[in-house]
Point group: C2
Chain length 234, copies 2
Amino acid sequence: MPPRLRDRQPIRGEAETGRRAVETGHRQDQRTATERRRTELLEAAERVVLRDGPEASMNAIAAEAGITKPILYRHFGDKSGLYRALAKRHTDALLATLRAALDSPGDRRDRVEATLHAYLSAIESNPQVYRFLMHPAEAPTGDGEKGFDLGRHQVPLLRRMGEELGDVVAEQLDLGPDAGTVARVWGHGIVGMMYAAGDWWLGERPCPRDELVRTLADLLWGRLSTAPDRTAPQ
Amino acid sequence: MPPRLRDRQPIRGEAETGRRAVETGHRQDQRTATERRRTELLEAAERVVLRDGPEASMNAIAAEAGITKPILYRHFGDKSGLYRALAKRHTDALLATLRAALDSPGDRRDRVEATLHAYLSAIESNPQVYRFLMHPAEAPTGDGEKGFDLGRHQVPLLRRMGEELGDVVAEQLDLGPDAGTVARVWGHGIVGMMYAAGDWWLGERPCPRDELVRTLADLLWGRLSTAPDRTAPQ
DNA sequence: CCACGTACGTTACTAGCGGTAACCGCAGTC
DNA sequence: GACTGCGGTTACCGCTAGTAACGTACGTGG
């Protein structure tokens, strides 16, 4: 890869214009102030990530915020800390949307289709956020354990969505014995189905969204088992 | 000398002990020789990746092979080239296994379960290879296009499996109009289901493999639509 | 008043990364 | 003998994440 021009360092003395004078009266808004600062930094980070993708550098983020790296590290510990904080808002929002769709009125098929629609339109309307959430660009291990744990620190959104959907399935359906396990398996399975099909669809756009939703719902409705064989009539 | 610590370079003169003398007779095995060298390097890389995970450094791989970085770059271009070469063998093997399962005798349900079994036992028997294949640890863009392409250079194995399965579905089932699109959607969807459920199962081990296979097959067989409601016990 | 704690901010560094330029030496071939 | 190509090296580049040390404004408490 050709060497990139070094990213611009923050311009000196432009971040602190006319700020301090506003809150002279208040005293112990220290905590709220740092909180506000935190969200300011997060918004800057979000701008950069949405512009440059998940591989945005801490330098670039700091520059966007008008400051330098050490402050970012004071606030978020390390890069994965920043990314975790950044991801939280979006994952929470997405999960809320999905839960709303899962609890929407209508029969079961309607709810399933509504959920698929919700997920797909979310990733469609903001692919870069989706990409950032799903492909965290190397979350640096971080756990003390070296070895074959596998998957713990990876793609947490997929896991969370799977757990969430499993809960909903468990609470809405009567699955007989082993209901808990079955529901969780289905939760992760269905989420994975949404994920892979959605990722592929977003890249190739082979059909409108409704058709994708219908086709996936057909799959979940067992059409795979009832479709006629093709080798026989030939 | 500047005070920079140098990372350990490979030990001098241990890679070429008693090698040259063997093939004095042959002449134009240059191509086969470089081919052999390539696979030697790939095996060294594999050892390191299986030991250190996907974030293994080129320096470490070169050291393991008893050489230095530039040779790796001569052979594979860049890191993603090496990783692609490294992944190819395993993906080919896995895809062949899956295809065999998809074409196995028995009825449709048997074939589906056989395929699930094949995938799950593959990732179970070698989780680190699986992890390397699925989470390529930041394939560095590489494409000229900057922007929102999304997903093209990401997780190629998932895509390939989806395409492959879509082909099989299309050639075995009669899906009426739009058969091509339906088959591909299903291919990617089913693969995603396997992927997410398998990843979760591998981490938590909530049930034996057979049960997971059966539960997923049940999902594909439409049990989601036929399971009784739980909130309204008629 | 002065000292303290605390936030914000900087400069200047470190080790390590992927990747490359320039060079050496050895084989075989025209 | 000159040319070419491959295996191999040293030494570098620009970049990254992360840190140490220092400075500056502020409000509080002895």
